[in-house]
Every structure is written in C-alpha cells, then in structure tokens.
Symmetry: C2
Subunit: 201 residues, 2 copies
Amino acid sequence: MAGLPAPLEALITAFERLPGIGPKTASRLAFFILRQPDEVAQQLAEALLAVKSQTANCPVCFNIMLAGQERCQICADPRRDESQLCVVEDPLDVLVIERTGGFLGRYHVLQGVLNPIEGIGPEQLRIRPLIERVQEGRVREVIIATNPSMEGDATALYLRQQLAPLGVRITRLARGLPMGGDLEYADQNTLLRALAGRQEL
Amino acid sequence: MAGLPAPLEALITAFERLPGIGPKTASRLAFFILRQPDEVAQQLAEALLAVKSQTANCPVCFNIMLAGQERCQICADPRRDESQLCVVEDPLDVLVIERTGGFLGRYHVLQGVLNPIEGIGPEQLRIRPLIERVQEGRVREVIIATNPSMEGDATALYLRQQLAPLGVRITRLARGLPMGGDLEYADQNTLLRALAGRQEL
C-alpha cells in the first residue's frame, strides 16, 4: 500500500493473524495503537511476551496455571467437589463454565478433540491421565462437556466407552434450543435435538 | 475469575482496551495466543513496540511516515498531482482512500476534527499548515473528506470559510445511498440527503 510505512504494515499483518480479525479491523487496531500513548502498546506487548513464559499446564487437570505452581487454583481449592469431573476440550471452556457459576466440581482439559483427519487420536489428548484420575476412586460423575460438534460427539462416545468399565456416572451437556432464542431461527439440527430430547412439563 | 493465572488476565485486559474488542473476544484472542507457537506472540509484541518508535508525522501533510525520512511516500512521489489536495481527519482515512485507487492527488491530515465540547479548536488541528500549503499557489482544488458527521461537517464549513479568500475550488465528498445498499435499509438522514442531492440521469 503506497504511503504505509513498513512498521505499520508489520503491525497490521500481525493483527491479521489473530482469529476473527480481518484486514479492516487489523488496520483500525494498528491506527488506534498509533494514536494512543506509548503505554498502551507497551502493556499489550509485555502481556503478550509474559503470557507464554509465565504460564504452564496444571499437571492434574491440564488447565492453564501460573508457572512454578504445583497445581492450578481450581485443583488446589479444597472447596471444589472432587466427586464431579467436567471434561472439556480446552482451557477457554473452563473459563466459560466458571463464568456461569453453575459448576462447583473439578475439570479435566483434554487439550483438543479426536480428529482422525488431522491425525489427532487418543494418544494426542489427555485421556490416559483422565482415566487414571477416575481410577483413583474419588470421582462419581464425569460430565463430558466437549463441543456439540462431530468431533466433540465422537470424543464423548470414545470417553464413555473408556470410562464405562470404571463404574462412574457419565453425563453429557444437554442439547436443545438456546435460551432467549427464537424457534424460527433455530437450525434444523438443533430443532431435531430439542424435539428428541423433549421433557415432561 | 477463579483459575485464571495473572499473566493471562493481564493479556485479556490489554486486548479489551482495543476498540471493538469486548471481554469475550479478548478471552478468545488471549487463549489463541496461548495455543500458538511463541513466534506469534513475539511478532505481535515486536510490531507493537516498533510502530511508535519507528514512525513519525510527515512535516508536509501530517500523514504517518517512516521515522527519519524527510517527507512521506505520497508527498515524495512526483507523480502525485499537486493541484488536488484531499483533506482528511486522520491517517487511516488516507489508507482508505488510497485503497480505492481513485485519487491521484495529495493529502492533508488534520489529525482530528473541530469539537468544542472536547476543547478541540482550529489551533489543535493542522489547519494553519493547510492554509499555508494552499497559499503557496500550486493547489487548485481542495477536496474536503472529513467524515459525514456533525463534527466533520462543522470542520468542512470552517475550512471553506478559511480557504475561500484564497480563490481555490473547494469540494466535499458526495452524500447519498451507499453502493449495493438497499433503499429500505437506508436511514432517514441518508435518504433525505440522497433526495436533496438527486442528479439528472
């Protein structure tokens, strides 16, 4: 682009690499940074550099934790119910469920889902440590909260197969119409699921 | 948020400071950075730190240029028509107009618009250098391309008042229905403008 100095181009390109940020938004963000006091760019740069070096995976649940700690805040919290284990795909899912305030058990982060096309089998996921945690005997219910997608469903079925012999209760998050949603805007699959899963009133 | 290590919180907060990025998008971006190889975070961090120190304002048109240069690429380009001067609010507007490929003249960046409520008067903008450029005598037309907003219109009127005695042609970007737009979705003001500005077919 004529008239755009290289450092500004570089920043736009770097922003464009982030998910959901197209060329227009990337330009807007770069020019915003340019207009702001130095601290804005500096704080973001420092946070970016720190986040990878100062975090690690919890050795128990594989959620994100502060580097150098023995286990994550949730695993270390004695008030969290050990008998309920919620299995999710990645750390962002933990954050999302925590925000609801509706779950007081513990988590297990698979760090992905089964995806044969991309070569992700059970060995690439944290499934073995999950089975070992359940084998310890304190877990009574495993809530499988993988995404309601093809891969999420396949992973859920695989986990059920693996966990069934251990005699724990295995559940999956409910499917149906989203709250506040409108019937006429629901896609066909969601509507079929909502019908099939209808409950007594 | 329970379970979120401080460096991750800091990154989410830094992303949230960017325009158009809410808490959900900020979390998604931060967790994306976490999943990527170190280079992604590093390149963005370096670009952020470089952009402020390695750029400067062009002393002629006040657009962004590489620090240490005498003038910006557009001002230094002898093929750009000196007789047409497009006046914009900020450097992003230059980029947007350049992308259209429809303007081959030069620019003048005001670095803002008149806004009495925020205490921005003519002295806070690059209006004096604009008048001086026009006084040099090579400019024949000043195209005022401030935004179609209250402040943009007020700034355009002020500029017309200041430039009129200099005997140059003063124009303003056309208002009307956006291309590809649908009449029934146009807001009332746009439609009124389109009516008032109707042209012979």
